[in-house]
Amino acid sequence: MLYKVFLIKYAEIGIKGKNRYIFENALCDQIKISLSRVEGEFQIRKEMGRIYVEALSDYDYDDVIDALQHVFGIVAICPVKIVDSTEWETVVVETIKYVEEVYDKQNFTFKVAAKRANKSYPKTSPEICMELGGALLDSFPELKVDIHQPEVMITVEIRKQTNIYSVVIPGLGGLPVGTGGKAMVLLSGGIDSPVSSYMIAKRGVKVDAVYFHAPPYTSERAKQKVIDLATQVSKYTGEIQLHVVNFTDIQMYIYDQCPHDQLTIIMKRYMVRVAEALAEKNGCLGLVTGESIGQVASQTMQSMAVIEEAGNMPIYRPVIAFDKQDIVNIAEKIGTYEISIQPYEDCCTTFVAKHPVTKPTLSSIQKSETHLVKKIDEMFARALDTVETIVIRPE
């Protein structure tokens, strides 16, 4: 049996009070965008606190489920059988037919759950459950009722029409992208920053990204790797504006003027400054990084405090307290891990000192930065002027 309709369940959006319609509309938009990559014609309907995706043409079931499983805000996807009648005899016949069509063997334990939106319906919910359960037992002798832990929960909803469903496919959860503002991710090419992008987007935040390119110390392939990562992440977040900053001059200047053990910290402070300028220009409300406490010298609490001081915007760090393995697990789930482990250098590793500072003090770093006053403003402006912006869309 080919389902014509999918019932979309969402959780958190349901409790957002007067703003609820904003969230529902955003979810409908995101579903539409995601389905636009699937062959077929679909209509998305909002109806009495429900969202339905209806197929108006032939479609590939797996492709549709996959598309819906990339949309934040969806808790579950239920392929549903719609019966254009609430007349009791029809409901009974169609429910039996449903069980026959959906399951190869009718030998499981089950329970019927009934919901009435139409409270004037002649039968109460418990009556619907009991009578439908009885009718199913009569039709399929190998079925057994288990009201505590049924293998199959058959839901029958009496509304203007009757919805019958029993298959529940988990969604990603979270909130629809676009409901939580916009942020600028510092995307490196490593494992952590794509995961951070995914996590912040899961809370409804739209993301832009900035990548610091340092030719000839980083190669075209390193840049392509970041584009590939952004493309993979965009399957979840939707379109991403990727800003590629040429960072070589600034990096070399810092190398010339500042103590080497402070190189990474000062470099990162300039990355924050550049990212913030781009964020302001593009309406972002904060920066996002893949930092995790203690992972490298520049990710100690002392280092991060000094780096953060360079800017004014909040810096969000979704994986701050995650172990590496936990980050890797998410990266594998969202398909960025395989891309991240390609061995191309990013600009942070090229000149990293053998023994970088792990507990920098703000005053010493600020003092070093005074060596940069002569040229840094001009270099900073040039870096911003020469930004290459690439629009990344899911493939």
């Binding site: 000839p216 190669s219 075209e220 590793t349 000149f351």
Partner: protein
């Protein structure tokens, strides 16, 4: 200006090669195994290519097997040559400077119970012949030596080695990886005692995805690919007619006007090395105390003190100069070059080595431009290193 100096990696397809390939794609697209005239037309291209190749090597047409490229040729020669002769013994001899497509099949054979001896080379990459001959024993069945090394351009004395091997034990199979040498040298397997010879199409301005294995008549070698029995069962699968036709044309052109082409490349090499020698902190590898004519005409390996090869490569790329790093290295997992280590380079030098490689179309102007660019870049890059 643009200077493509990575011809040992791959070369540009010639217009004549493209043309003959287009004929086989658009017009004579039949399956050479088909009984009808379309099949016969397609087969003519295969005959043409075989004839050109056989002529260049002075061998019989039936001794040529078309394969997907150099890697497949080496795999079939080594794995299928060893397997076919395992009753006679399990010992194989090779050198320490072989390409991965020789080295890795041998590693596989080691896992299957074969024993492999890796012979040393000197500072110029010349194989130690005494050691090689010494290593031949009762159970030795196969010797594999590359003709021209891809990283430094060392040339092995194949005829001499072949003669010594056969003198000590006539039954040994002698395989030569000629992927970097075919088209640059005249190779005559019969006079050089070669039983198996691997060649790739795209190193000589032919297409990618085609190559051949020369198998001396009556040599015991098994197929690597089984199927419909094409090429007398030695390499099943519908023949890659466009590739084979393109290869045939490339071979024809490589050996037409051959002496002039080679003289041009040696002239370039001497000219280039003279310019490089005027620069500080640069060392040309593999030419210590030997005539340039005793090295490959198209490969120049250079170590630049204090500059990582990958960085120099990208800096040159920015000036439209395309070269290879002497080793496939990344900061986290340095996979150091076997050849460069074998000729005695320190780890640091290995990481600072790049390879320039010419074609017969390379010009002096390109090389002058390259040296000028190096003069600008090297001092700057030397300043910025990891401390």
């Amino acid at each position: 200006m643009e200077a493509y100096l990575d011809n040992a990696a791959t070369t540009k397809v010639l217009p004549e090669v493209k043309e003959i390939m287009m004929e086989t794609l658009e017009e004579h697209y039949g399956n050479p195994s088909s009984m009808h005239s379309k099949g016969v037309e397609a087969e003519k291209y295969i005959k043409f290519a075989k004839k050109e190749i056989a002529k260049s090597l002075k061998v019989e047409e039936k001794e040529i097997i078309f394969v997907s490229g150099g890697t497949e040729a080496n795999n079939q020669a080594l794995i299928c040559g060893a397997m076919a002769n395992k009753r006679s013994g399990n010992h194989i001899i090779t050198t320490k400077i072989e390409h991965a497509s020789v080295y890795n099949p041998l590693v596989y054979l080691e896992s299957q119970g074969f024993r492999v001896t890796y012979v040393d080379v000197d500072g110029n990459g010349k194989v130690n012949q005494e050691q090689l001959v010494e290593a031949i024993g009762e159970d030795t069945i196969l010797v594999s030596v590359m003709h021209v090394n891809n990283e430094i351009g060392a040339v092995e004395d194949i005829a001499e080695i072949g003669e010594k091997i056969k003198k000590k034990k006539p039954g040994i199979l002698f395989h030569v990886d000629a992927i970097q040498s075919y088209g640059k040298f005249k190779i005559f397997p019969k006079r050089m005692h070669i039983d198996l010879l691997s060649v790739s199409g795209h190193k000589i301005h032919g297409p990618k995805g085609i190559g051949f294995l020369y198998v001396k008549d009556k040599t015991k070698v098994l197929p690597l690919i089984y199927g419909g029995g094409q090429q007398k069962g030695m390499r099943s699968g519908t023949e890659n007619v466009p590739g084979i036709a393109g290869l045939g044309k490339a071979v024809q052109l490589a050996y037409a006007d051959f002496d002039a082409h080679i003289a041009h490349m040696y002239e370039l090499k001497i000219f280039f090395i003279d310019l490089l020698n005027k620069m500080e902190d640069l060392t040309v590898n593999g030419i210590d105390g030997i005539d340039i004519e005793n090295t490959a005409p198209h490969v120049v390996s250079v170590t630049v003190d204090g500059v990582r090869s990958e960085v120099l490569l990208h800096a040159l790329e920015d000036k439209n100069i395309y070269v290879s790093a002497g080793s496939a290295c990344s900061s986290n997992h340095p996979a150091l070059s076997g050849t460069l280590q074998a000729i005695g380079l320190e780890k640091k030098a290995v990481e600072s080595t790049i390879r320039f490689s010419f074609s017969r179309f390379t010009t002096k102007e390109e090389l002058v431009y390259t040296v000028e660019t190096l003069e600008q870049l090297v001092p700057v890059l030397q300043k910025y290193v990891r401390r």
